[in-house]
């Protein structure tokens, strides 16, 4: 099988489409796109056996920028589309890409249940703590006192969402955080996430230079986390609860829960089921 796949040596370019991104110059999502294509090349996955699913938002445009199978759906529903796709087609490698608003606000319930259902998906969330596509409103991960939005001029005033801690509590099996300022590291972590069976969450700090220009500073603020990957959820939760969100570059938690994949293995004919009704 491996020998067969490697007959053609795929490079990152083989996974990129010729569609020009709509992203602003300086957007962190460019390097996440590059990292995804690099990870796919590392794994030498045939493009036709990979699907990238997304919802709505800047980062959800990624499927169109790849040359694998893509699905660009509606706001917040990327995870269910990907779940249905993977369960119906377990032979595919399924990635999900999106932003903090899509994943943690409108798609919040699906996020919880994707963590708990543990279907073999790799969920890459480009977190910029703002709604960029609707021109700068507070997102679930925005800090409560950010006054940059006309919609919440005095700040959102509510505690920001902690996606990784919530993911742990909901049963996620692989949790990592990285920064778009280090695309090689992002590619490495996405590679590990794809290899890991079950649901993997990769949070990428990906600045929005248009509506949160101060995030350009993130590249100086991030630091490589000085922790080893743990399989102890309580320990991981303690760490995540106390860190400032800028510890990046590492897989922070890795469990060994088996992936959920109901098997379609029956071979009866539909007519055989008629016996249910016959008198």
């Amino acid at each position: 099988m491996d020998a067969c796949v490697q007959q053609r040596d795929y490079t990152a370019k083989d996974y990129k489409s010729d569609v020009k991104p709509i992203w602003c110059p300086g957007c962190g999502d460019y390097s996440v796109l590059a990292a995804i294509t690099r990870a796919l090349a590392t794994l030498q996955l045939a493009p036709e056996n990979v699907a990238v699913v997304s919802g709505i938002g800047c980062s959800s445009r990624i499927p169109a920028y790849t040359s694998v199978y893509g699905f660009h759906g509606v706001h917040g529903r990327a995870l269910p589309v990907a779940t249905g796709l993977k369960i119906a087609r377990p032979d595919l490698t399924v990635l999900v890409t999106g932003g903090d608003g899509d994943g943690f606000s409108i798609g919040g319930n699906h996020f919880l249940h994707a963590c708990r259902r543990n279907v073999d998906l790799t969920y890459i969330v480009m977190d910029n703590q703002v709604y960029g596509m609707t021109k700068g409103q507070a997102s679930p991960t925005t800090e409560p006192d950010w006054e940059g939005s006309k919609l919440t001029p005095d700040g959102a005033g509510i505690e920001s969402f902690h996606p990784l801690v919530v993911a742990l509590a909901a049963g996620a099996n692989f949790i990592a955080r990285c920064s778009s300022s280090d695309p090689n590291n992002v590619a490495d972590i996405i590679t590990q996430a794809i290899r890991h069976p079950g649901f993997s969450l990769v949070q990428v700090l990906s600045p929005c230079v248009t509506f949160r220009p101060e995030q350009q500073e993130w590249k100086h603020m991030v630091r490589t986390a000085v922790v080893d990957v743990t399989d102890d959820a309580a320990r991981a939760a303690r760490r995540l609860m106390t860190d400032d969100g800028f510890n990046v570059g590492k897989v922070l938690y890795k469990g060994d829960r088996p992936a959920y994949q109901p098997e379609a293995k029956g071979a009866a004919a539909v007519a055989d089921l008629e016996a249910d009704f016959a008198l």
Binding site: G73, V74, T83, L85, A88, A268
Partner: protein
């Protein structure tokens, strides 16, 4: 309908076992060679509460209740009065009650029906472990002429797991009921039927819907439980794996429809089932399926609305949301089965159409039809299997156009795994290759294409069930479970010498103006029949079709069923 029928109701509080006894009666009648139709009514309780089974037995297949019931048996009367409006009785009806269980509710007494006392509880106590519901069963069986040997066979088969003592107790209580009712006034006795064979089925509308899905090729189902659609899923959950499919219980309706969009995008015909509140949640993603051209089927087993309405009762009031609920111009399919049996055909056809036309299909059934059990002729296999057009081989260097602007409007659809055809399916407006586009020309071209593939398709004669007189001057226009009583009304009217035809519309959308006009040729007046407060179907027909000058509408909300007699009366008074 034809033939002779008898109609009866068994009612009682939770635990009285009326649903069990009703099911046994239905099974016995089926084995005796009769046809049957049974609907249920229950209160909103989770367990217990009051329940009623309404059963009509006959010598020919049955698709509707009669105007009145011949017999109402109240094992007890606790809250049963709540169902009075759903259980029409007349002076010729009989009410059997247990004097030890209180007075017959005044609302039933007012019907003028003759009242008969049957001490079911006391009689049950005369045999070890006897139960009043079995006494009631015995009384009814004796009165309608159901022979004991058939009933004993059913009791033995059904109660096998509970052991010999339980069987003996039931038989003894049953016999006590038969004996006690020996001198009761007559209700119609049915002539002996042809003993049933495997060519006859006992099936509910919801089960038939599930079977239709499998026959159509559905192999992935994701859904969230909701009354009265849950039985579709409960039947499919063990059935799907047997034929190589999978069912997932999703976290909500939004997840359900998006999961099936994902499954279908992956190439596996996919379906979900829900009721009105769930359909409302799904409308945004229905539009996604239309725009991204991903085939999906959504079964809506309608219940009384709006909002959470009455979960356990029937109405035909989701037509508006099914047809008009999607934002933007989003042509899609809306279909409705015209009977319990037709739930199978229509669902299978819906899968076939959704797959062939790469769009969303909504199938509108309802509580009355979905939870009704019918004894009917075995459903013959039809050859609809979803056909999704696959792309032809591409020349070197040519980019696959997923949304190619073809003459038929159907664009050949690649599925993941096919090398060389990678594309992105998109709910955003896009050009032929699937790249998002905000250009007016791309929008116009894709809108035209998505409409054209639906309007240009040949739906054959399946768009409606048309029966009655070719040269009729009067037509009954109806849909869904209202077609049952309309069919019976048609027979009564024709028996009385009227020239009438019935058009039960199966394909609600897209409209079929030419076929519709053809069906109405020579018709001077139409009666539109439906179960909704505002006359949604009537208004829809007015908006979409040319109707004859004389139009009357017969519509009322659920849970009251449309009765054949009301239709007959409307048309007779018109004459």
């Amino acid at each position: 309908m034809g033939g002779q029928t008898v109609s009866l109701v068994m009612a009682g509080s939770g635990g009285a076992g009326v649903v069990t006894a009703g099911s046994l009666l239905l099974e016995a009648a089926a084995r005796a060679g009769w046809y049957a139709y049974m609907t249920r009514s229950s209160g909103p309780q989770i367990r217990g509460g009051e329940a009623a089974v309404m059963i009509r037995l006959g010598t020919e297949p049955i698709a509707s209740h009669d105007d009145r019931f011949h017999l109402l048996v109240g094992v007890d009367w606790q809250n049963v009065g709540r169902f009075a409006a759903e259980i029409p009785l007349g002076a010729e009806s009989l009410i059997i009650g247990d004097p030890g269980e209180g007075e017959t509710p005044e609302v039933f007494v007012r019907s003028g029906a003759q009242q008969i006392a049957l001490p079911m509880k006391a009689l049950a106590k005369t045999v070890p472990d006897g139960r009043p519901n079995m006494v009631a069963f015995g009384a009814i069986a004796g009165m309608i002429g159901l022979t004991e040997d058939v009933v004993l066979g059913v009791l033995r088969d059904t109660l096998k797991r509970k052991g010999e003592e339980a069987i003996a107790a039931s038989i003894a209580a049953f016999r006590a009921g038969v004996e006690a009712a020996a001198d009761f006034p007559a209700v119609p006795r049915l002539p002996a039927g042809t003993p049933a064979t495997s060519e006859r089925w006992s099936i509910t509308g919801n089960e038939a819907t599930g079977m239709g899905a499998l026959r159509g090729g559905v192999r992935f189902v994701a859904a969230y439980p909701i009354t009265p659609a849950t039985e579709v899923l409960e039947w499919l959950a063990p059935a799907l794996p047997k034929v190589g499919g999978v069912l997932v219980q999703a976290e909500d309706e939004l997840a359900s429809i998006n999961q099936i969009i994902g499954g279908s995008y992956g190439g596996v015909p996919s379906l979900t089932a829900t009721s009105g509140p769930g359909l409302a949640l799904m409308t945004e993603s229905l539009g996604l399926a239309v725009a991204a051209e991903v085939p999906i089927v959504v079964i809506d087993v309608m219940r009384v609305g709006p909002s959470t309405g009455i979960a356990t009762k029937s109405e035909q009031a989701d037509l508006n949301i099914a047809v008009y609920g999607l934002h933007g111009d989003a042509p899609h399919l809306v279909l409705a089965p015209t009977s319990v049996a037709d739930c199978l055909f229509t669902t299978q056809w819906a899968v076939h159409l959704a797959e062939s036309l790469q769009t969303a299909a909504i199938v509108l059934t309802d509580q009355a039809m979905g939870q009704a059990r019918a004894v009917m002729p075995r459903s013959a296999a039809v050859s609809f299997i979803g056909q999704r057009e696959k792309p032809a081989a591409l020349e070197a260097g040519v980019h696959y156009k997923r949304y190619a602007n073809t003459a038929s409007g159907v664009s050949p659809m690649a599925i993941p795994g096919m090398a060389g055809y990678t594309y992105t399916a998109d709910g955003l407006e896009h050009n032929e290759t699937g790249t998002p586009s905000s250009q007016a020309s791309d929008h116009q071209a894709q809108l035209d294409k998505r409409l054209r593939k639906l309007t240009g398709y040949n739906y054959g004669d399946h768009w409606a069930d048309i029966t009655g007189d070719e040269d009729a001057d009067t037509a009954i226009l109806t849909w869904g479970s209202s077609a049952g009583p309309a069919r019976e009304a048609l027979e009564r009217l024709r028996a009385a010498g009227q020239r009438v035809k019935l058009i039960a519309v199966r394909l609600i959308s897209p409209v079929q103006p030419e076929k519709f006009a053809n069906a109405l040729k020579g018709v001077e007046r139409v009666l539109v029949v439906e179960q909704s407060h505002s006359g949604q179907f009537h208004r829809y027909l007015r908006a979409q079709y040319d109707l004859p000058r004389q139009v009357k509408a017969l519509h009322h909300p659920g849970p009251l069923a449309v009765r054949p007699g009301a239709i007959v009366e409307h048309i007779t008074q018109w004459s």
